[in-house]
């Protein structure tokens, strides 16, 4: 007796949904099952900040997932790669022919005293993360009665959450441990421009400050002793790949689950994609690369392109937070080097800042903030590694750009 081939996907987030959608669209015939820890269908996590502002309804942001069987709220607690078997939280087991780990990432809880409930069962009232629609719903409810909020962490998530809260009429303060906002993507000048733009929206920023504790009264206490009075706190201190299952199953785990260019782990028939995967030493943690990985794996497993390879991404960091918008890509803060040229254009009246980092006639990195007219050209130039023309200024101004 034959039975259907089965592909088990652990996770029902963006990478999982994309994999399932592509797998069936490309003609895959195996039964695909998505085991999701969350009690709902896959949705577009990228849009959560704008669910908070009300631009999207929670139901609206559902993503397609092909003809996969969805098992919401089915948390996988154990894997046996040798037996090709997984164990669910209720103790039942299921088998697979191919396994795809798309477990995603968890918010990082920083070492701050007083974040948790006294009994240690979770975040205390008024303290939020923003990773799931459930987080979003809780935060949204609190925000309706809040006048002030503190966002801990001034990365992409912190900035977009702060802006979303500000759009709801909440006065927001960002406490950021790094030297300036979003230091992984922006240089100091861009961060300054961003800080100014946030201020006009009602968001104050304190870079170079560490939060030490949340007091019993619910105040945010900085390392310098200063205290911020607030009605709610949002933690935006980055995410960490969910690797516990993989680790317990004996798979190679670094920061994320280690995969090769075929997105295979060391164990036969076990793959990993998305925020939980570490490829060539990099955990991207962005939707774009996660989808590229999902596309490659789907093409391999459905047979449409068994030789497909994922060779890495040069993702464009793109933030849109209401009126605030920037794009950053490549290396934007290189060490001083005689071969590198840096081109900057600042327009204080328009609040725009642009920067190109060039090595000879090649683009190494770029930032566009405030005026993104040339973003398409820049992205293309970086992605294709094309030599630039004699006057790369066209990549900074619409004057003489694509048209």
């Amino acid at each position: 007796m034959t039975r259907d081939r089965r592909i088990a996907v652990i996770g029902a987030g963006m990478a999982a949904a994309r994999f399932a959608e592509r797998y069936h669209a490309l003609g895959g015939t195996a039964r695909v099952t998505l085991y999701g820890a969350e009690p709902r269908a896959p949705y577009n996590r990228v849009l959560l900040a704008d669910v908070l502002t009300g631009r999207y309804d929670a139901e609206t942001i559902a993503l397609p997932f092909g003809r996969a069987d969805l098992r919401p709220g089915a948390e996988v607690v154990g894997l046996d790669p040798a037996a090709r078997r997984l164990t669910l939280a209720d103790g039942s087991t299921e088998t697979w022919d191919q396994l795809v780990l798309a477990t995603g990432a968890n918010p990082v809880l920083p070492p701050i005293r007083g974040l948790r409930r006294p009994d240690g069962t979770g975040l205390r009232d008024g303290v939020h993360a923003l990773r799931t629609l459930a987080d979003c719903a809780r935060l949204s409810e609190d925000a309706t009665s809040a006048e002030r909020a503190v966002v801990i962490g001034g990365g992409v998530l912190g900035v977009s959450t702060a802006r979303a809260l500000a759009a709801l009429g909440v006065a927001v303060e960002i406490v950021h441990q790094g030297p300036h906002l979003i230091e992984r993507q922006l240089d100091e000048d861009a961060a300054l421009a961003l800080r100014g733009a946030l201020r006009t929206l009602g968001v104050e920023t304190y870079p170079g400050n560490r939060v030490r504790a949340v007091t019993a009264a619910g105040e945010v206490e900085l390392a310098n002793g200063h205290r911020l009075d607030t009605d709610l706190i949002v933690l935006a201190c980055g995410v960490r790949p969910r690797t516990a299952l993989a680790h317990a199953a004996g798979l190679a785990v670094g920061t994320g689950i280690v995969v090769d260019d075929t997105l295979a782990t060391g164990a036969p028939h076990v793959h990993a994609i998305g925020d939980c995967a570490q490829h060539r030493g990099t955990v991207h943690g962005l939707a774009g690369p996660a989808w590229e990985q999902a596309d490659v794996l789907a093409a391999r497993l459905c047979g449409a392109d068994p030789e497909a390879r994922y060779t890495g991404s040069r993702p464009l960091a793109r933030l849109t937070a209401g009126p605030i918008e920037y794009a950053a890509f490549g290396d934007v803060q290189p060490d001083e080097h005689p071969e590198l040229d840096v081109l900057r254009l600042t327009d204080a009246t328009r609040g725009s800042y642009k920067k190109l980092v060039l090595r000879g006639d090649r683009l190494v990195g770029a930032i566009l903030l405030g005026d993104l007219a040339t973003v398409g050209d820049l992205a293309r130039a970086l992605e294709r590694d094309d030599p630039l023309p004699d006057h790369p200024l066209h990549l900074l101004t619409t004057l003489g750009a694509a048209r």
Binding site: A17, R18, E21, A25, Y43, N44, V46, L47, D50, R55, Y56, T60, I61, A62, L63, P64, A287, G288, W291, L316, R318, T320, E325, L372, A373, T374, V375, G376, D377, A379, R380, R384, D386, P387, P389, D390, H394, A402, R403
Partner: protein, 701 residues
């Protein structure tokens, strides 16, 4: 003594799907051509306006331009003049012998979207009844088949425009996708101009800043092959902006949930990365279209000639449906059909899967109806055949699936087919190639038998323009001696093949039969006759009875689906079949220029047009030119996996720096279709003319 000037004949242009009205007035005795073109101001489509092609069309009637005697290939391989009986006997005997030895499907028929309705109808009947072959398709497959497929899926019916062109100026926001009417149908441009004069917004989507794009309020310049992602991104923004017409979606559509989910997978940042269109332009386009009271989306070959053309058009239709801009006055989706009878040509049975009246050849009821009109047993009718590229690719192949003889009518695939060098090679492998044409086209030059047929002003017939308006193209001159009509050629061949049905060669009689065959079908012509077409400036189908006024506007009450609801297409973006890589780092896109038409078989024979557009060229951006150290006019080779085409550089900043453009009107070394990719759309079988990967090389001279 007084002479009376013979009256001018009211008729229509020989070229594109507008079918502009024109008058053909006799010229003085001794003139090179028998008539000249005059304005026909009262015809509603073009209101007197004509482009250079239309104005110079009478040159096609001049001596030396057209064929006037049948040609047959000698044992020595030359084409020599022959009498009609010799030529027709040879064709009939050849078809009969191949049919007897290899089966009827080994004899193929390839039609064209420029044929009159009568010819298209008769050609389909000839294939199914005269030859008994399933092997028939036509070049319309290369034209608007993706739009046709998407339209049928969404609305249950395919008609190029669901409204008259004259409605366009009254819509609030129009998105023109991959269409360049400023060069392909200039007399239509006034409708877009009037739209803007009325305060409406024109948005043009095109990888090139065409003359049309230059007139737009907003020009989105996506990478070739990414229109589908662009449409999904705009739908995403309509949802986010709250401009979805939820009442319309609830009352008149089905399938929105899936379309919405697909749109959610195309959030603005991602669409910007896929298409190269900056997010602020996406937002502006979505805002304009979403907030407009009425709106239209019109597509042409850009989004359609892709290996995902059906899905791409479906995504644009989704946008209309979500915004409530379909099935209402001054709103809707339409396709700007290309060829003169691209519309009628797809309705009456020269398509592989179709019977007259836009009926399916697999539908038993349709088979019974048409077989009754033809007086044959329904069971004798063949089933669906293969699509145009598949048909051409099977020519001369050994084995049971090979097509050994081909009758070509009104098409020039040597120039117009994708991967044209390969297709030319296939045509050469045929045992018998027969071409009916007015001129010695590149395809006719390969033929074993060439049959010179009447054209345009030399004959009468009906055409159906892009609006679905059936018009009468009237004879204005006597055909030259030695030339016969396609209808007569088909009749004589049918008789020689002992066809079990009658084939008339009088157009009006054939039209009467077509009316009966189409009756009850979607494209119902039953209520039309030549008198009405003459008197009413054409009539819109469906027109089921003589007292029916015709249907200028479709879908106002219900869509043509069984439940009356339009269907959202569950589509998602995928890349073009061929993406640039280090070896072929650029996109090639192809298209047309103002002074030429399609494969150029007609226009390249008109001196005035050839002077205006003498040959092919390669458009490239100054930055690309600088990188390749190419100067304007320098000879270039454009190389794809399928071949190499030569043409001079034309440097212009109207094109994206990662894309080159070639017009496809020419044969020989500059033939753009040598390069194009025959990757087919799974639904429409449309080849991917509009995007493939190439490199550009300097040619050392």
């Amino acid at each position: 003594m007084t002479t009376t000037t013979p009256a001018a004949t009211a008729t229509h242009c020989p070229y594109c799907s507008l079918q502009c009205g024109m008058l053909l007035a006799p010229t003085a005795i001794g003139s090179a051509v028998p008539v000249h073109v005059r304005e026909r101001a009262d015809f509603p489509v073009n209101r007197g306006a004509l482009c250079g092609k239309g104005r110079s069309a009478a040159a096609l009637l001049g001596p030396g331009t057209r064929l006037s005697t049948p040609l047959v290939r000698t044992d020595g391989g030359e084409l020599r003049a022959a009498g009609w009986d010799e030529a027709l006997d040879r064709v009939a005997a050849g078809f009969a012998a191949i049919r007897a030895e290899h089966g009827a499907d080994a004899v193929g028929v390839f039609g064209g979207g420029g044929l009159t309705n009568e010819k298209a109808y008769q050609l389909g009947k000839f294939a199914r009844v005269g030859l008994g072959t399933a092997t028939i398709d036509y070049n319309g497959r290369f034209c608007m088949s993706s739009a046709a497929a998407a339209g049928r899926l969404a609305f249950g019916l395919d008609r190029g425009l669901p409204f008259p062109l004259a409605d366009i100026p009254h819509t609030d926001c129009l998105i023109l996708v991959g269409a360049n009417p400023a060069e392909t149908m200039p007399p239509a441009l006034r409708y877009f101009r009037e739209l803007r004069e009325n305060g409406g917004t024109l948005i043009v989507v095109d990888p090139r800043r065409t003359r049309t794009a230059e007139q737009a309020d907003l020009h989105l310049q996506p990478l070739p092959g990414t229109d589908l992602a662009l449409a999904l991104g705009l739908l995403h923004l309509l949802i986010a902006d709250g401009t979805v017409d939820t009442d319309f979606v609830a009352e008149r559509t089905a399938g929105f949930e899936q379309a919405r989910a697909a749109a959610m997978a195309h959030w603005p940042e991602r669409v910007e990365a896929l298409t190269g269109v900056p997010m602020h332009q996406l937002r502006e386009a979505a805002r304009q279209f979403g907030q407009a009271r009425t709106g239209m989306v019109l597509t042409a070959r850009g989004p359609e000639q892709q290996s995902k053309g059906t899905d791409t058009v479906g995504a644009w239709i989704n946008l209309c449906l979500a915004a409530g801009k379909a099935g209402r006055p001054y709103s809707g989706y339409g396709c700007l059909t290309g060829q003169g009878n691209g519309q009628g040509g797809r309705e009456h049975g020269q398509k592989a899967d179709q019977l007259p009246g836009y009926r399916s050849i697999e539908d038993p009821v349709a088979r019974a109806h048409v077989a009754a009109v033809w007086g044959v047993d329904p069971d004798t009718l063949p089933r669906s055949g293969r699509s145009a590229y598949e048909l051409l690719d099977s020519l001369g192949r050994p084995g049971p699936d090979g097509v050994r003889a081909l009758l070509v009518m009104g098409s020039n695939p040597v120039v117009s087919a994708p991967r044209a060098a390969h297709i030319t090679g296939r045509l050469r492998k045929l045992e018998l190639l027969v071409v009916c044409d007015a001129v010695l086209s590149e395809t006719a030059q390969l033929a074993d038998v060439v049959l010179p047929s009447t054209q345009w002003a030399e004959e009468t017939g009906t055409m159906t323009n892009l609006e679905g308006r059936v018009i009468l193209r009237q004879q204005a001159v006597a055909p030259p001696p030695g030339v016969r009509s396609d209808l007569r050629i088909l009749r004589e061949l049918a008789e020689r093949l002992d066809a079990p049905a009658d084939f008339d060669d009088d157009p009006e009689t054939v039209f009467a039969e077509l009316r009966r065959a189409s009756a009850g079908g979607q494209a119902d012509y039953a209520g039309l006759d030549y008198r009405r077409l003459r008197a009413e400036d054409g009539v819109f189908w469906p027109c089921p009875t003589a007292d029916h006024p015709g249907t200028a506007r479709l879908f106002l009450d219900r869509f043509a689906t069984p439940d009356g609801r339009a269907r959202f297409a569950p589509v998602t973006h995928r890349p073009a079949a061929e993406q640039p890589d280090p070896e072929y780092p650029l996109y090639l896109t192809t298209g047309r220029v103002l002074a030429q038409y399609q494969s150029g078989a007609q226009t390249r024979r008109v001196a005035e047009l050839t002077a205006a557009a003498p040959g092919p060229f390669v458009e490239l951006h100054p930055r690309l030119a600088a990188r390749l150290a190419v100067t304007d006019g320098e000879p270039l080779a454009v190389v794809s996996r399928r071949g190499r085409a030569l043409a001079p550089a034309r440097i212009t900043d109207t094109i994206r720096p990662d894309t080159v453009f070639m017009p496809f009107h020419w044969s020989g070394p500059g033939r753009a279709n040598t390069l194009t990719n025959p990757a087919l759309d799974p639904t429409s079988k449309m080849p991917e003319f509009k995007v493939c990967a190439v490199r550009v090389e300097k040619v050392l001279t």
